[in-house]
Subunit: 344 residues, 4 copies
């Protein structure tokens, strides 16, 4: 079985594992206070070109989102997201479990628009019978694999600035965003645009882990208290620091992203060749082909991929994902299989 | 600098890293639904001799405790712990952050007594103006490195049974408990005694991770929802499964514990040799010597160890910790240094 | 200034105040355990024709909703509401503050449809990456003053029964629902249809207070613990019991509702007379006229009423509310004023 | 049956009810934004001699405490109380339910000492593995009916000032504190000493209600959001304002307290006359006689009073409470009954 189900079907890029191995028997202090975490912070600061920020490490995306949002918001404040945002739909109410409403608006190809944010603000006014919108959450790349243009984020930021909203980016797949066709946000844009953002490793070559950067230091006070309280402070923090070092040195992070994009584009061309439509244009490493049901059934004997949504009586939307680890031959086998089925 | 600060100063036992490496490029499904997590569950079930339970994997101890307690208790229910219990003192209010009071009583050498539990019950009665005590939390080994005897836990269980309380064990250092002098709880005792317990890897040879076993299946329904909501469901769950396999095969887990205990006993003998008193008898891999302040200052130039508590104007209690990774020569160097200072 | 802003601009029906006065110096036990609360429970049980339920008293609607929902749901469970539902929009995230997501769908004239519920269920499936929908919340009358037909609620109940959802009614204005033109749910329907419901007094003749009836006793265990924890357990519970007795004796509750409806219909006829359109048909004591902006400005010099929503460049939707207390002459003065403005 | 069980066995002082009646049919805006609430605020400001504060009204004590503490603390911050503090013991974990740990130390005759506060601070240091103590809660009068001296509160304040802690007073029975023998805190002391405090009406002549005064305005921003979210914002806020006006005009509040104290002292003299010891000296309207068990049983046929605690095999501590409403003849009948039993 060949898996196109996600970008976390394999372990880590070998360089990452090697970093763990080489330092394995060294003794360091715990809780992200070691030299490796510090070096990782420096490398990331160089990458984004910003040196006055707070950088924390997490084991996964949901714990990153819930910890930061819990820390940044007051009890009566809410976060705005589009309806497909990860915090809105796929974190089992983690944000609400810590007390905060997620205010949603319909997505536009996976994205939140400034108009949607304004409509939330208009609805809420300054009425204490409603929650107070205080943060805007976006994922980039989005849950639909799409990307914000620099201009789009600037417009969001402009709304946030005017109304005193915190702008936060979930970059679980940021490597893929960096490498995408029609490249949009670069490393150096992040500190200019966001109060805080997290850079994903789990889906971008790391074994696991995400790195949160808080640029707006007024949101960073006592952050370690919240991190510990939410259960996210790993004893051996260095494991996370070491991974990030490995990913940032020699452009490994960017290379991982580029590989994933390259394989996704190959898949995209294959779908196009057989006139298979996609739900949204393929911008990163997630593809949403609309497959005829019988075809999907036949393919599923050899390939694993995820049902995304119903489409029609005869067709269904599926999600295919490539990653840093997708081997050339997975694409080839898929291409040949499709050929064999469709042009017997 | 030689670290005796904790049992998480190094990475992982090499066998654990090797397991990650060997399987690194295999593709598996995520979220603990892979073959490795399944195999790890089977191995653990064999170890404890219980096959009808629910086994879940976590990245760390605090997230394990908060997720299980959140899942098992109703909003108005509380958990009983001794005052030194990890959930009571050193998790930054993680349990309260999810809404539950931790009811404490003074510890007896790090342990919670049945009498203490009964006193909580007596105080609370069935009065809805107070929280309802519903769970008893113990750590074994305790935060003071001490161990419950089998008889002590049976007495706790007897109180829990009579009053309908859930009995839960935090086994962050269970490997050290297994190997300790005057061995107490064995693997096979766990399912007989506890509604749920977790077995630590982070401090017992693993890179990171803890494994929760819910024996009382009435507490296991829909557990994955709570796990995801609390931010503890790792995408690449197999990383945790693989580690546990490595630790359970060939008795590696027990060997890691035995090594830590062996080194702790060596340290203990050294303290005794120089008539250095300990706060509590050394039962596992944590030692609490009461050091004269000048001696501590001199030692701290070469060795890292943690201040535990004030003792007197001239003396202070420190914590020394050994682990699976403590090399023979760390003990030797320490012994020689003490000799050089005290008998110049 | 004449207020049409809400149905809580006055105190209480004089009969209610008299009940407080007459018993004022009697001594009773506290916390709803007195004879008056018991008698109120009996009267309410007679009214709804159901005698095996749990009845609790609250000071207001939000605390009622948040306490019941907190008590009935597990941490990962969510409540479904239409977007205009009080818990969704106008309780400042009270439900989320206790950890639960409110899943919304667009309202149909203030109502939640079975189709909307089904769409939530379809979206969520049994996926632990999403919250688990477990309760359906409706208000009757709705926030738009509309009413569910008996048939509509039966269809909702049928969906709830099939999928194991709790069906809960917020009856803050239930008196007005009882008296409405095209009368729909009667007292006796409530136990047949709902797992729980609350009957409002604040907006229906009482000084303040709401009464929760839990018919599904599996949701009632230990309720007083949650009630106390949420801060809703009043020391002098009898104040609430006495009010309910006064309202239920001699059909005062029904009469209060009928008076409000009568005045609303008079207002409705006045709007019709002057060809003023309404956002939704007037079914109870809330009216939503779409007023020309200049007209609204002129009226607002003499009458207080609430802006509801923008409508067009020239028109705005306002809310007018009548109550048990609305005097005949308020309607007359309003009619004359409108006449004077529009037909000078 | 004569009740000495609490100070909320009757309704309200007749003057309070009269105030509700006289204004009953007036129309006012809701949610504490009416003229009566404003006038009540002014009267209270005059009483305490402080005019730059935020004053909010609540239906009861628990909702007041949980709302203020929720609003003032960050998620990782905790409140310090003595073990008998109402928030620690008798609010069913309301503070924890909103995420905050209550750090307790043993009481000294119902009071929290500066030394106890310092011991909490010493234990916690600046360690993010523990919660951050940030508020000190005291009740005055205490749950044992005792009073802080002005000097004692000043010492607490001095510790709070040095360590940046918020000092908060729960004044559920403040009227009785004002009137007590050896009078301690006066109205004018409150703004000098506390960041916030609440003045109780429920137990001091009102029908129900408590008034929170936030003197430290940095803790007052957006308070109405939290008040609404916690379910404490009453629609007819004026009911609370009107009561406070009635209590503050003509010194009614002080007179209610004085009456309760007068009756308590009569009871105290009776106990002394019969050589019945008390657990703590009677300072306000709560008495804790240590009664011989047979005597208690006999008395309980005619009088209701609450068991407080076990004392010995033959004796038990009970609580007797007087109030603004205790009639002369209740004391007489009690005195005669005791005489008849003990000196037959």
């Amino acid at each position: 079985m060949i898996f196109f189900t996600s970008d976390y079907t394999e372990g880590a890029h070998p360089t990452v594992l090697k970093a763990l191995e080489e330092t394995n028997m060294e003794q360091t202090t715990g809780y992200q206070e070691d030299v490796y975490c510090d070096k990782a912070r420096e490398l990331l600061q160089e990458r984004v070109g910003s040196y006055n920020n707070a950088i924390h490490f997490f084991a996964g995306g949901t714990i990153t989102n819930l910890t930061f949002i819990t820390h940044a918001l007051k009890p009566y404040q809410a976060v705005i997201s589009c309806d497909t945002g990860h915090i809105a739909l796929h974190e089992t109410g983690a944000i609400e479990a810590r007390g905060h409403k997620v205010l949603t608006r319909p997505n536009q190809e996976g994205k939140l628009t400034p108009e949607a944010v304004l409509s939330v603000l208009r609805e809420h006014g300054e009425d204490h019978h409603m929650v107070q919108p205080k943060m805007v959450y976006i994922s980039h790349p989005t849950e639909l694999g799409t990307l914000y243009s620099l201009e789009e984020v600037k417009r969001l930021k402009s709304v946030c600035d005017r109304y005193g909203l915190i702008l936060y980016m979930d970059g679980a797949r940021f490597a893929q965003g960096l490498a995408a066709k029609g490249k949009t946000l670069s490393w150096k844009d992040l500190p200019m645009l966001f109060d805080a953002y997290y850079i994903g490793a789990t889906k971008c070559g790391g074994l696991f882990g995400e790195v949160l950067v808080i640029e707006n230091l007024s949101l960073a006070d006592n952050f370690l208290y919240t991190l510990k309280q939410c259960g996210g402070l790993m004893a051996k923090g260095r494991i996370l620091g070491l991974q990030l070092i490995a990913l940032l040195e020699n452009q490994l992070y960017e290379k991982c992203g580029a590989h994933a994009i390259d394989k996704a584009q190959q898949l995209d061309r294959i779908f196009q060749k057989y006139n298979i439509n996609l739900l949204v244009p393929t911008m990163t490493n997630q593809l949403f082909p609309i497959l005829e049901n019988d075809l999907a059934a036949t393919l599923s004997k050899k390939f694993a991929f995820q049902k995304w949504d119903d489409y029609s009586a005869t067709h269904t939307v599926y999600r295919f994902v490539t990653s840093w680890a997708t081997p050339e031959n997975h694409i080839e086998v898929f291409s040949e299989s499709l050929e064999a089925i469709l042009c017997p």
